[in-house]
């Protein structure tokens, strides 16, 4: 505990030291005076002999200190005193940095939540997800689920996994009993699924081995969310029976809230039952299982991948017809989840944007520090002449920067806390997103602190280095009048502000390109009338509606019941809602030779009932619409859209031509094109129009479809009547997503409005900070040049000349900076085009507009100081010394 004793004896040590040194000097002086010197001369000689008294004392004291910490602490205290002395400066700097830090930390909470997801169970790093790879699948070709036969084969044949569980994550079921039936998303999992993760249930148990056997498989585990919402967190739910898909299931357990996998949001789990039918060659086409496996200890991911590749090659050799071009890969669980969630590039854009804001904020603070440093040039010269080394002065100034940054970090974290709340309230546009909690967690905290340290260095290093370059004599001699030191500071500041403008313009152009792109999407004409339509999804289950005649009967009676609801003008059903994305099918045109697979003709494919066109408001351009006569017994007919006609019959009349829609699950039949309808955008959030084929429901029934009601009242008011009509036909049939067509389109925006608002806020912040930067620079320069301006005025310069001079100075910097930013922003459309597909991001006309806006802001910010310069009183100005 020696250091502890030292801490307390130190005061005495310092006193001893001073006494010794004093006595030393006194004795020397005495001696010199005895030799006949005057006291004055003797003192000077004694000090010369001794060296720098203060420095010697300081060095001697440092022996007793933990030098690093103590002198840093001294620096911190000094910095705090300095900052308290100039509150306006401190406030500006701290607020500026806290804004930058808060924006970054808030956005980082998304990175923390989405890219570093908290995973259930133990040792998520040794869990892997095995997925199918097919280069033909455009979007994320390496995250496809795999088929049951492959799962069963690989489970037994591999030597690299200790456990392999399978999950069909995206099944839909009707959950009935107690309250109205609802459609839920659930997962069917192999009984070892929860064990593979190493997780336990919160209530009851997880699945037992053997519960995947028919007869024992009617057991279910509830998610924490469903347990809370539908069962009121009732602990006695375990052991009770629920109706799932018209069958009784016994609830055996409830999972804790922590059991969630990013991007997967099942509300309930049942055992995955694989029967003989799942082992046939035909079952190989049904790829719906995600495989979760735990590596045998000691086996690396590469070894596992190699093993799986071998197994996939084997399958390809054994079943070339179905397995051709299908490979397989393994990713660690966190990698897979983050990758397949597909939010990385959007987050990268956001983080880049906010880091620019941070840079601008840092440049502003650096500018402020430089200004202050210019005022403190003399103080620094005094310090240097008293023996402070350059390193020491740089350290002192860096400490000041650090203190400002840490204060900014503190305020920034408060703002972050609020920001995250705001963000969380806005990020609810789909289940997967709202299932992920955004928090001010340790990652965000660490990030904020690191960002602050970077800020401290960025904003104070240049001023510190500049200021510590001291010419003692010149600096000490210079009186307020000489602007030489200020000049080179101003030059550095001008570079900083120019840089700010470059960054702000770059950011502004980037943001406005995206905002414009999104805005165009919001405003685009979709090709139908989305207002006054109520929609609801229906999934007819196999238990009651396996035959197509049953499906047709259900739809016929449903539509006639719906049409009788007061307020309903027309009712129709469609296999998918307009502008909500369609399945694509291969098309053949009669009389054309069969084309190679790569040039195959494709079209979106929708099945509709007779009144669909009227309900949706899609104009029929030529020919006729479907009628009740177009049923199973009549010749097959189809409608096509303009794009189809234009692309596949460029110079022929499509009416009367025969085409064949080759959907997978049907025997293809030739159909006659009887009408051409107007184009509808394929997806509300994209500008694309695809060739489209409409088939008649009576000729080609489907079991999954949407109801559409065209109403002359507020669509939401029809919901009870709609539910009643459906319940009147089938009391256990749930309705999915009952919402207005406009609501459907809103949800499809999928965060675009939030994204737009964010970008808007970022651009505004960047612009504001840049404006503050240029204002500070020009205002300071006017202050510095008061004397010069006084002389100019005294010599006859006009006020307007002076303000023009000042304005020009600011504008020059803004213009140079902005031009650099403009050049930087040139490749942005290309970059965004590759990230945000479906968004129109090319808008060269935006560049000059944004540039002009920036310059306007620069003029406005410079205007105040310029006016002030104009009104400087020459006599007063000249008297300032």
């Amino acid at each position: 505990m020696q250091w502890f004793r030292q801490l307390f004896s130190r005061g005495r040590r310092y006193d001893d030291l001073s006494v010794s040194i004093n006595e030393h000097l006194e004795e020397k002086i005495d001696e010199l005076m005895e030799e006949g010197m005057s006291r004055e001369h003797a003192e000077r000689a004694a000090r010369r002999e001794f060296g720098n008294v203060a420095l010697v004392e300081e060095r001697s004291r440092e022996i007793w200190q933990w030098p690093a910490i103590e002198s840093v602490w001294a620096d911190v205290r000094f910095a705090l005193r300095q900052l308290i002395k100039s509150p306006v400066f401190t406030l500006t700097a701290v607020v500026t940095l806290s804004l930058g830090i808060a924006v970054n930390a808030t956005m980082f909470s998304m990175v923390s939540a989405f890219l570093m997801p908290r995973l259930p169970g133990r040792d998520a790093g040794s869990m892997v997800v095995i997925s199918g790879v097919n280069p033909n699948r455009g979007f994320q070709p390496d995250t496809n689920p795999v088929s049951a036969p492959n799962y069963l084969a690989w489970r037994t044949d591999n030597k690299v996994f200790a456990k392999m569980a399978a999950a069909d994550e995206f099944r839909t079921a009707s959950l009935a009993g107690r309250g109205q039936p609802e459609a839920i998303q659930y997962a069917a999992v192999s009984p070892n699924y929860f064990g593979a993760f190493g997780t336990f249930s919160q209530l009851g148990r997880t699945f037992a081995a053997g519960e995947d056997q028919p007869g024992r498989d009617h057991v279910a585990i509830l998610s924490h969310g469903l347990w809370e919402r539908r069962f009121g967190s009732d602990r006695s739910v375990v052991g009770r029976t629920v109706r799932l898909n018209r069958e009784d299931y016994v609830v055996v357990g409830v999972m804790p809230a922590e059991f969630s996998l990013l991007g997967f949001t099942p509300q309930l789990w049942t055992p995955l039952t694989l029967t003989a039918a799942d082992q046939t060659a035909a079952a190989r086409k049904d790829r719906s299982l995600y495989l979760f496996a735990r590596l045998v200890p000691g086996v690396t991911l590469e070894q596992a991948r190699a093993e799986m590749a071998t197994l996939a090659q084997q399958a390809e050799k054994d079943f070339p017809e179905t397995e051709k071009r299908w490979g397989v890969t393994a990713k660690t669980l966190p990698d897979f989840l983050v990758y397949s969630f597909g939010i990385r590039s959007a987050l990268a854009v956001i983080m880049t944007t906010v880091s620019f804001i941070l840079l601008i904020a840092c440049a502003n603070v650096a500018g402020l520090l430089l200004t202050r440093a210019a005022g403190r040039q003399k103080e620094m010269a005094v310090r240097a002449s008293l023996g402070a080394s350059r390193v020491r002065i740089v350290r002192q100034l860096l400490t000041e920067g650090l203190v400002i940054a840490l204060l900014g970090c503190g305020v920034g974290l408060l703002l972050t806390y609020a920001g995250i709340h705001l963000l969380r309230a806005n990020l609810t546009f789909n289940d997967a997103i709202s299932a992920v909690p955004l928090r001010l967690d340790s990652n965000v905290l660490m990030f904020a602190v690191c960002v602050s340290l970077v800020c401290a260095i960025l904003s104070s290093l240049a001023p510190a280095l500049r200021t510590s370059r001291i010419e003692i004599n010149a600096d000490l001699r210079s009186e307020g009048r000489a602007a030489t030191a200020g000049r080179s500071h101003s030059r550095l500041r001008a570079v900083l502000v120019g840089g700010e403008f470059a960054m702000a313009l770059f950011l502004l152009i980037g943001c406005s390109l995206l905002v414009r792109g999104i805005y165009l999407l919001e405003r685009q004409k979709l090709g139908f009338r989305p207002d006054h339509i109520l929609t609801a999804g229906v999934a007819l289950d196999q238990a009651r509606y396996s035959e197509s005649s049953q499906q047709i009967a259900f739809v016929r009676s449903l539509v006639s019941r719906l049409q009788q609801i007061p307020g309903v003008e027309d009712a129709a059903i469609a296999s998918s809602l307009p502008s909500s994305g369609f399945g694509t099918v291969p098309i053949r045109i009669k009389g054309e030779p069969e084309l190679p697979a790569s040039q195959q003709r494709v079209a979106s494919n929708v099945v509709i009932t007779t009144d669909y066109l009227r309900v949706a408001g899609v104009p029929l351009l030529r020919g006729r619409a479907f009628t009740e006569a177009d049923d199973v017994n009549a010749p097959r007919v189809v409608l096509v859209n303009q794009e189809f006609a234009h692309r596949y019959f460029p110079d022929r009349d499509p009416l009367g031509k025969q085409i064949r829609v080759d959907s997978k699950d049907r025997v293809p039949a030739w159909s006659e094109i009887v009408g051409v309808v107007s184009d509808v955008k394929s997806y509300s959030e994209e500008t694309r129009v695809d060739p489209e084929v409409y088939q008649a429901f009576l000729q080609r029934p489907v079991s999954y479809f949407s109801i559409m009601l065209r109403s002359n009242v507020e669509p939401d008011s029809l919901v009870p009547a709609l539910r009643q009509a459906v319940a009147g036909l089938d009391v256990e049939l749930p309705l999915l997503r009952v919402m207005s067509m406009e609501g459907v389109i809103d949800t499809q925006k999928n965060g675009n409005p939030v994204f737009t608002r964010m970008l808007g806020i970022f651009s505004f912040l960047a612009l504001l900070l840049a404006a503050i930067g240029i204002y500070g620079l020009v205002a300071y320069s006017v202050g510095q040049r008061t004397h010069e301006i006084g002389i100019r005025l005294a010599l006859g310069a006009k006020g307007s000349d002076i303000s023009w001079m000042i304005l020009k100075e600011g504008l020059k910097i803004a213009a140079i900076g902005s031009s650099i930013g403009l050049v930087m922003a040139l490749p942005l459309p290309k970059l965004f085009g590759s990230i945000f597909t479906g968004l129109s991001v090319s808008a060269p006309e935006l560049y000059p507009i944004v540039l002009a806006a920036m310059l306007l802001v620069a003029i406005l910010a410079t205007f105040g100081p310029a006016r002030r310069a104009m009104h400087i009183d020459p006599t007063a100005a000249l008297r300032i010394e």
Partner: protein, 114 residues
């Protein structure tokens, strides 16, 4: 820029060696110590007097020296430095290693002259 105050025109450790050796003869206060070293070396070793003090503090911290309140020759309060047992041991070690070094240097110089 002030010159480095820790600059010594001596071998490293030489100042400490001389301090220990001088104080072993007689406990002294700082000024007396400086005077002593100057006189004994016949002004050959010119040291900046101030540089004594960091060295003294270092040795105090290492436990080679101890200090006590005392009165200077002129009757003013000062601090008297005295060598501790640990200081004596350190001195012995330092002396023997210095002797070895000097012997080595002397031999090298002798060869160069021949």
């Amino acid at each position: 820029m002030a010159k480095n105050p820790e600059r010594r025109d001596l071998f490293s450790g030489a100042l400490e060696l001389m301090i220990l050796h001088s104080l072993r003869l007689k406990p002294m206060h700082g000024y007396a110590l400086a005077q002593h070293i100057k006189q004994v070396s016949d002004d050959l070793l010119k040291i900046e007097e101030g540089s004594l003090y960091p060295a003294l503090q270092r040795m105090l911290k290492e436990g080679c020296l101890e200090s006590e309140a005392g009165i200077s020759a002129k009757g003013r309060p000062t601090r008297i430095y005295r060598v501790t047992d640990a200081g004596m041991r350190r001195l012995e070690q330092d002396v023997s290693s210095f002797e070895k070094m000097f012997a080595g240097i002397t031999r090298v110089l002798a060869v160069a002259q021949a």
